[in-house]
Symmetry: C2
Subunit: 228 residues, 2 copies
Amino acid sequence: MSIQIDISRDKRGLIRDFVYETLKKNIMELRLEPGRFISEKELVEMLQVSRTPIREALVKLTQEELIETTPQKGSIISLIDLQHAEESRFVRKTLESAVVREACELLDKEQVLHLQNLISLQELCESEQNYGRLFELDEEFHKSIMIGCGRGRTWGLIQQMATHDNRIRILRLASDSDWKIILAQHHGIVRAIKEKDPDQADKMIRDHLELLLIEKESLKQKHTKFFK
Amino acid sequence: MSIQIDISRDKRGLIRDFVYETLKKNIMELRLEPGRFISEKELVEMLQVSRTPIREALVKLTQEELIETTPQKGSIISLIDLQHAEESRFVRKTLESAVVREACELLDKEQVLHLQNLISLQELCESEQNYGRLFELDEEFHKSIMIGCGRGRTWGLIQQMATHDNRIRILRLASDSDWKIILAQHHGIVRAIKEKDPDQADKMIRDHLELLLIEKESLKQKHTKFFK
DNA sequence: GCTGCAGTAGTGGTATGTTAGTATTATCAC
DNA sequence: GTGATAATACTAACATACCACTACTGCAGC
């Protein structure tokens, strides 16, 4: 029943957090497959810690709808819920377009430069077809805009809500995404911010976030057992 | 060290949930004061349950920033953070105005009627000066709009983020809020939805949510020890 | 072969014991 | 009296033990 998962234990810090981080990472990257049954006992053996920190980590993950627990029965990695994904997309689009408007006022030259650097790195990854890293840099780009506007908690909310949608995006990574278009849009967003044009920035980021929407149904056909 | 708090244990259901609900309610209603030190041992005596479900409830509350725990030291009810409150207000205003636009399309006659009934109840409470219940009905009003649009999770997000701002609103309840204005705005919002005028609905709800903003600084002066 | 029920293995929920870190307090050297 | 330090009294973190519930398995009766 054992499975290969990423583990890297930092001796400092709480075991509870280690368990939480480990599970979350492996769920989000689909090494722990949606629908997979997972018992506390199994985790005890896998991670070599007692049930207490495991249970506390599971409580957190349950709260984020990444795990579903039935009393006296067991837990499963939550199936991907398309409705959940749709709503998280709505939330993200709504909040991020509002923040990017603020960004036109708030971001200084240095921060804009940082964004441009991120795009350069993204272009590098794209040319090397390193799509995993590219995904991370994409997140980093959006995060930087929000943090720069003092909207760190808002970014946290978006992330928390994105637990289902982001797994879909990981599924899509295999097939080639339209990264060239995405990078062009990143350029466009930064340009709008630089030129302090909130309407344009808003429009660009909405187009951008809508691009990622396609193909959900076909993905569901392809990986039926992962979906609700 | 004991304190009077609301407890009502439902025998069915998990103890963990009972502890969580009890603490959350008492924190949000300020019976457990921001900054107050609270140990697991104290909760054991107060609630007459073991440490395990208490710890698991505290993990959840910590994740929602209602409790702050320092390893090997203890926990406190989190101080009200004005910056947190401001950001939650931004999130709420942004999301709710987007949803209310959808509402103009999505809500049917029956749902609109339900909203009008809620307003009637609110007016009743206002005339009776039952401000506690009025607060709940206010929340119910906004919640109904969002649920009606299939945005239940979005409402959950807003609520989760509102843990600091809502405590400020409770503080304000003592002083008389401008409930008459608020109720007039509720009428306006419903009217805009009924007439399927998204721009108007958007504008009304923004005005509405901005009204609640005032006096924060003076409240902070008045209850210094509750604030960060 | 099918149905019903008793036994049992396995699960998560809860209680309690143990460990390790922190802050305070009492004590001792000066 | 003042400073350093050792004892100790707290805490939360972690480990383990126990309990109640679920679901399956296999046998008995038909």
